[in-house]
């Protein structure tokens, strides 16, 4: 990995994006408010980790996850969601962590750091 790890945060709540950007201010971060905006950024740059909500206006988060894995092979996907639901079977393979809102920043930082360690090991 060259330079700082690159993270992309996607959520329809601007203040959540602001909080995540501040929390990961020692990383290279980008944000998007919906799937379409996120895909535009993913087409231009490579990311190591995608942290995304699932329920957003417009194209659902699951579509984003599939496209992100094609555009940025090896990208780690972490889902943040306010909907307490069973993790869908098809998502288990594609998502490294499924974090429920409200989450603690230690949990999300831990999840990102662990996933990055795994990426560098492999």
């Amino acid at each position: 990995m060259n330079g700082k790890p690159r993270l992309l945060f996607v959520d329809d709540e601007p203040e959540i994006l602001e909080l995540l950007t501040y929390t990961f201010r020692d990383f290279d971060t980008d944000t998007a408010l919906n799937t379409d905006a996120a895909l535009e950024i993913l087409r231009e740059k490579h990311f190591d980790v995608l942290v995304t909500d699932i329920k957003m206006p417009g194209t659902p988060g699951f579509t984003l996850i599939d496209s992100a894995r094609k555009l940025s092979p090896g990208i780690v996907v972490i889902v943040i969601t306010g909907h307490h639901q069973e993790v869908p079977e098809e998502a288990r393979q594609k998502v490294s962590q499924w974090i429920l809102k409200p989450f603690s920043l230690q949990v999300i930082r831990g999840a990102v750091l662990r996933s990055l360690e795994k990426t560098t090991e492999s």
Binding site: E15, G82, P102, F103, S104
Partner: protein, 312 residues
Amino acid sequence: MSEEKVCFDRARFEAVLDVIESMAVGDLERQIPLTNERDELDALAHGVNVLSSELLYRLRELQTAQSTVIQSGKLAALGEVSSGLAHELNNPLTIVCGYLEHIHAAIKTASVSPIDFAEIESHFQKVERNLNRMNVIIRHIMEFARESKPSKEPTMLHEVIQRSFALISEQLRLKKIQVETYVCPALIAEINASKMEQVFINLLSNARDAIVEAHGDKGGKIRVVARTVSNSELEIEISDNGIGMTEETRSKIFNPFFTTKEVGRGTGLGLSISHGIVQDHGGSITCVSERAKGTAFHIRLPRYSSPETASV
């Protein structure tokens, strides 16, 4: 920066954080002890205490309401509201907990890196803003959950319609559903506001489901028009460009437990309750629908005429 300015009391701050973290996992019984300092931290602790007692009180009220709701048939509307409530509260709660964690981290490392007070101030503002946001949501729920008086009162119709939209606007936004309302601000009806709110929420959520079934995530349009139709009656029309119904379905919609929704999605009670409520108001509710075009409900209610107007 003088040493006196670094006045955060770590133990007190940790007590606040601890209680908020307990709130995040559902323990609302704890309260933060206040000091005589009457500083920002005490104000914050007080705010959190009030919020958690309010939440606890409303949660209990909701639980009690839930147990009696099945009988009164309020379940359909309550289910909508509670899932919306959980979703609405999760984002601000994440933001509140997040910035408190940052403030906590700044205090813990104050001996090695000086506290940036402007930054802490901005964190506190975000905490405060989001606590207020949660308060607004809870206030809406309070208005909805309040035991409705059997009596009817002259009520501004547009306010009732606005409150009904407020409770499901987030869901409509997520589904890209546009809303057009043409409600004369001067329309007054003699109604039980919370009961009529229940009717509107039911019709609006049915309209949302019909639009999603027809257009998926492409969205659609809900139109609400309220007007005077005669000296004695006013009419509220709620229409959508959703999937619509066959004549056979349309003829059964007001029957209790009739539903076209999949198991677990609809109780089949919403429209029969709405029908009962409108009838209790001396009004009527009718429906026209066309498959693949959309549906329109018309509610007619007696107009309110003030005693002075009546005597003229």
